[in-house]
């Protein structure tokens, strides 16, 4: 482990997901792996993706926004359970996602309370999906607020958690490049099971299984042992710190 956990106990992860499916497709492996090691993982869904990422549900006759949200809530809660994470929904609306100042402050409070060692969120600039940018910006701003000594003097200020960025759907067009290829082989069955909960987007399951294999092959090409079969790619926002070169 290259950084010391900010907590006395196990290191903790907080995921900030623009829509209620993103954490499953893009970070399901990292979540399951962290939980598998006994560390707490909490998922914050800014929206349900009810308008823009629920194609399967909208094909059903007489669908309404409320019913879509309900279905998405259930699916995501189930997926989080499968992965071993707790989950919380802010229901801010999607396409577009708009995050008002008081919500940023609220998220800062959640970060300060949970003291994550690592934050997971979206890339800075996805030309296809501006909700992803919004989640990225919100994460960096809330992290900064949580670090302010004077933001809430009754609680201790946050340290400096890394912010890992998920792989977007079309990585190269979003300026994404993999800086960490995370071995998720031991928990890949968990990720697949979680993905299968997302019935509104079931066309993506095969796609993300293939992507996991492709990133796994690349991990081996970058020095991982040949037992690595599946990986997830992340881009870092800040330098890593530590006492080892590899």
């Amino acid at each position: 482990m290259s950084t010391t956990s900010q907590n006395s106990a196990a290191p903790s992860v907080l995921v900030i997901s623009a829509h209620s499916g993103d954490f499953v497709w893009r970070a399901g492996g990292a979540i399951a792996l962290t939980a598998h090691h006994g560390s707490p993982v909490h998922v914050l869904c800014l929206s349900y993706g009810e308008r823009g990422e629920s194609r399967g549900l909208w094909k059903q006759e007489g669908m309404t926004v409320e019913r879509v949200k309900q279905a998405r809530h259930e699916e995501a809660a189930k997926a989080a359970e499968v992965l071993g994470a707790t989950i919380e929904f802010l229901d801010l609306g999607d396409y577009p996602l708009r995050v008002e100042p008081e919500v940023v402050d609220r998220i800062a409070g959640i970060i300060r309370e949970r003291k994550p060692d690592v934050l997971l969120t979206h890339v800075a600039n996805d030309p296809y999906n501006r909700d992803h940018n919004q989640a990225h910006e919100t994460t960096l701003t809330a992290r900064m607020i949580a670090q302010a000594h004077g933001a809430d003097p009754s609680t201790p200020a946050l340290g400096a958690p890394q912010v890992l960025q998920f792989e977007p759907h079309q990585p190269e067009v979003c300026g994404f490049y993999p800086e960490l290829l995370l071995d998720i082989t031991p928990v890949f069955d968990r990720k697949v099971e979680a993905m299968k909960c997302m019935t509104a987007q079931e066309h993506l399951v095969r796609y993300y299984i293939d992507l996991g294999m492709r990133r796994g092959v690349q991990a081996v090409r970058n020095g991982a042992p040949s037992s690595v079969q599946y990986a997830e790619a992340y881009k870092r926002t800040f330098p890593t710190v530590g006492a080892q070169l590899w």
Copy 2:
């Protein structure tokens, strides 16, 4: 440790240094730290920096290239000893450094023989110092040759060691940004002692002590414990692989 060592024993490091001083100023901490952990470190000096990086020696009356090389050899050998590394000099000439095809093949052989887990070398594009570019290119080409199954079928092919790039003198102008801030606090006195061996460039000792402190402050700002006082910065060439998020 995020990757499995390619060796059965301890992980090993190979440093490819354009001039005989570079490994001390830019990577002395990493070298001492690795040696401190009991792992082998080998330094390959492509040239002595006899023409371009020996200002102190050239100020002496009646200096010759041979005497400069001799002095630089002694200084670097002493510094390597202080740091705990073995060292080897290819004496290819500097300003400019030119690396002929057969020398690249020879370096590939050294890499294959030593099987380093990490290679340390210069950045790809330093507008001030094209010898640094040459060392970078040589390292990537020699690494590639060492990986070829058919390059020397009698010895096993190399795996995929990371290539960490040193911090250049003017980092921003060279496209360098720190991706790893390595805590060198436990061995900083070793680095200082090694730097003091380099009498031809003694004006740099103070400069690199200050830089070590500055990078140390930044490490703490990026989540290192406050006990970290000194750091060295590195840029990665390839993604990291591993089983942990931090």
Copy 3:
């Protein structure tokens, strides 16, 4: 043609222009060419550029904002007519242009209704003119909303139109590079006539004629037939798709 039109009839273009002059100077050729081929082109002017881009009018004694807007409206309407496009003014104010959430939704509605095959707008980051950035961001967000199956379930969701970015006044400083050099030779006289309608900025006519020639010379240097005399440059936002290599 490398993509299939989303419409049953001819492909259609929608231009989102920060100020009422931009579509003429920067995309007049593309508009005239599209109209010339019988396809519908619609121009959406977010503002009149009444404060920041009407220097000629403000030199007149006793000028008021309302009179500037009126003059700019007339000029732009006339220019659109010359080019063969329909036009619509949102009058959101300029320097700065601010686009409220409900206006973004309204623009998304216009996009969904018109189903353009191509959107034309400004670059993402113009340090001279933040209104251009605002138009870019608005276009990408509105496009995303128009694609959401649940945004307005009574109408079909938008496909994936390309977003072509106009050439800004100082392209290199804005991160612009030409990815498409569009041959506008057959309609260049139309563009010149349209530019001459813009009396508040008449100092620009000569400038844009020269730019058209310069881009034309570059088109020939990139493989266009020597009959190409005038071109306009565009940067793409997304990959092109198609069945041919050239």
Copy 4:
């Protein structure tokens, strides 16, 4: 001097500082130097940095936001006086800094009134500190408004002042690279005296003295005379114009 001053008298500088300490650490030398040459310098502090940049004060028992602001006001006013600048506080709040449209307009008015030849502000994209981004964006937008002929027809429009960006705390991670190394040797004692006024951040004094030396060494390496001991680094936003090559 490579550009003609917009004023009949001496060239003038306006500094737009996110927090009340930034102008001291990052631009104290440039301010003192300009004042030393008899030119007016005005500092606009958007916030006091009361929540996020006053760690020293928050360590005191029973501290309140109002008392922090008061202390920060006094420190910054004293530092400005030492540097030879006038100063003005907008007290917009920090962590996060939010700049409402009417405030941007007000800043545009200040710019138009003072007609600076150079604006100094933060970088565009600091992942650690989004308040810096906000100050950058505010500066570019306010500058654009001040240039509009129709923004306030009763006063003359602004010319085109350069916008120089300060060096951020972790330059490489913020996309900063030095384009101007400003010799501040003649006024460095002024800068040190001003830094010592900032008691809420006194841990930074040593850090910025070292940074000044480091940039001074780099200035000499880029052709400055060896008498240069201290420098500040700036990134430009726009091309320079002038009649000389060096």
Copy 5:
């Protein structure tokens, strides 16, 4: 078609492949598609990839370089035949590939003789594989020589063919992003058949089938009709020219 063919007859394609397998994995679809449309495609293999890209063969007892080359020659010739292309081998050696000046001139002669409308080759900067860089540089230099009016005054100078860059194995690490997603659905079975000829690298067949599907999904997401199932990605070197916006 957006550019006029330089030939009186059908447009032609020339592929410059560092190793004898690259053209199959990376461009087999483009080649088969071009041939399918009745246009000539010629493949130039700079090396056999005998040392670095023939792992399967080197696993066989008693293998020699000559036997590897022979096997690779046969495989590649067969694959080219399946794809509908002619092929030529320069046998320059691999890992590293070195291209002497006279060979560059010879390639320039081949280009001038064949007058391709499009050149296909590798990316500029692949940190894993410097042979790819060498092929890129060779292609641009040979293209430039072929364009010189005085290079061989007895034959006409080349026009300005586009240079499309193949997708490398780890695209994001190589600065690759897809600018063209080429629909290869109609010829995908040809590509699969050609890939199956490459017995020395048979572990890659599944990998490239998956990649083809993944790029196909992305093509649809960028506006291709839903009938598109498989695609290949290319990066352009030069702007496109033409008379249409899409």
Copy 6:
């Protein structure tokens, strides 16, 4: 003037031009301006551009390489005289330009002898013209050699001249952006007269007059006085140093 001249007398400029026409089209204004101020300017033509940049001459019946070189020599010598510069031809051949190690050393000697305050040369990466890249690399390597204290201990080492990069024909595609817009209005007639000497490329005269005007308009937009009519654009390689902010 922002840096102190390295010479006791007037500052001096050395131009390293890949082909014998480049210095006229791309830097004629800077050369004439420098000479106009009484400073020495020397032009080093690496080749005559006899194969690739003499289209006009090759159209003549029975033309030979020797006659082209002769004509190019005369034109360039005449143009240099018009501009007020001395000139020297290395006749290294073009398309491609190859610079052997001993020639780099020779150029380093010329640099050390002339002690230029500014070097002018081509950009680092022009995909259309690799000779330009070669000239760039040669300049940086020769500059580095000239700076080495031990390269020729009998003469003093070079300081640190800026390297300004010319504007290439298609700037955005070559990664060029203007960092200096040099006012060449006072000497523009000299540049035009010099361009008219280049009869082998006379189609470029009009093009470069237009470009000069365009860059002049941009200079005014960046703060130059409205009397500026013509400018040349340059990209810097190193930071500027100096004692003034503008």
